[in-house]
Symmetry: D2
Subunit: 140 residues, 4 copies
């Protein structure tokens, strides 16, 4: 009856934009969310959770146009767990955050004084490659 996720992290790669058969834009990217904890031996450990994000409609296009790998964002959305069959026909479970809001928390690499930056070329496929999106996931 309530399903709310708030994440702050950096894009692990550029957003990937596609369209449903009905022409609805969907963007996907993975967010790297850092975490620190103290382990059994009392040592300070850094870990990173990689969390898949799905963004729909106008926000999908805004994210694709203005965000890239490494950018810091706050994502607000809903956790969704899904079952699907992968390309080998194996049943898999996937979990993503369906975002209804993405806030940009830093400036693009260019503006931060980087040299090359923002190539917008995605190497490899992100988590969305084997999934057929359901428009009923749209969070509004």
């Amino acid at each position: 009856m309530l399903n709310r996720v708030i994440l702050i992290g950096r894009l692990a790669q550029d957003p990937e934009l596609r369209y449903t058969p009905n022409g609805v834009p969907v963007a996907t990217f993975t967010l790297a969310v850092g975490r620190q904890y103290t382990n059994r031996q009392g040592e300070r450990v850094e870990a990173t959770d990689f969390i898949d994000i799905v963004v729909w409609q106008k926000l999908a296009e805004t994210c694709t146009n203005h965000l890239g790998k490494g950018r810091l964002v706050a994502v607000e959305g809903r956790l969704q767990v899904r079952s699907y069959d992968d390309s080998q026909g194996i049943r898999r479970k996937a979990a993503e955050v369906v975002a209804n809001d993405v806030r940009f928390l830093d400036w693009p690499k260019e503006a931060r004084g980087s040299s090359t930056g923002g190539s917008k070329t995605t190497e490899g496929e992100n988590f969305a490659s084997e999934i057929s999106f359901n428009e009923d996931e749209i969070p509004f």
Copy 2:
């Protein structure tokens, strides 16, 4: 740098309690979280997300002792995505919410006027059966 999940839903089955090799208690259960939306045809649709929850230490024991299938709770925690190999050796991704807080929002079935209720017998195994828990997941 921030990873926060808040869920309200009902337990899909009784919590299952186990212990790590070091004797740390871990409870697991699946939460059924309802959701309504309007589909493309303008119809009101009810859907349910089933989200796996992991609870550690004293709270694990409290949940196991006081909660059962059908109970309404609010869960606060962190979203965690993990890779593991299942019993057929297939690499799988799992996602759970590691709870640091669980609030009981209704009264046990008995107190609500049910007849049998609260047998505490779990039929089958829940999502935790193939997973070896890492104590570093403990959220504090």
Copy 3:
């Protein structure tokens, strides 16, 4: 850039519905949110925070029609701090949660087996009595 509040508590009184000069419905009520802590002497203490809630438009009417004193709800919204002059001309600061979502977590008193219940008569005025609402507070 992000302002998110999630509360679970019970209505301290029935919602009060009014309308802006433009005819936009606004409902207000106070939420009693329990909290436990251990004080300096190691004793377990119960405290309650009373938090003012503002609800706009259709949700305002839904809340007024279906909620009453004592009902358990989850409120999601935005924290808003406002300055205003009270009836004695003293400048005061007020804080409310402007809700964009209210979930009903229990059943009305009648359905719970109460005898009298749900009179819907509000004794006294709630916090909204001295405030002129600004439609720009509407959270969408």
Copy 4:
């Protein structure tokens, strides 16, 4: 029974550190949280909410030592509404977020290429000046 606030914004002034009679450190600062909305005339409007933050113990010292006016942070905590008598003996209501976590989201001004920066001199008093803090507010 649940009281959770998550804010992202910039410090409106340097944190102010004080100590309770028992020597417990408390830091206070005001957070400027931006917000955009579209008004009745269809114009895009920028508004800022100024929200008071209270931080206790070790985190109070960390914030005071490492944060200053203008810094971007994520604050997680609990909304607290309090009554107190101001210096003229007028009963006032105050609302703050008692933070249990503060994440630093940008780098100090110096590291961002500013010239003077970080003077750490607070002009005027912040909201805490008339309040006597209650150690029972400590969020754990």
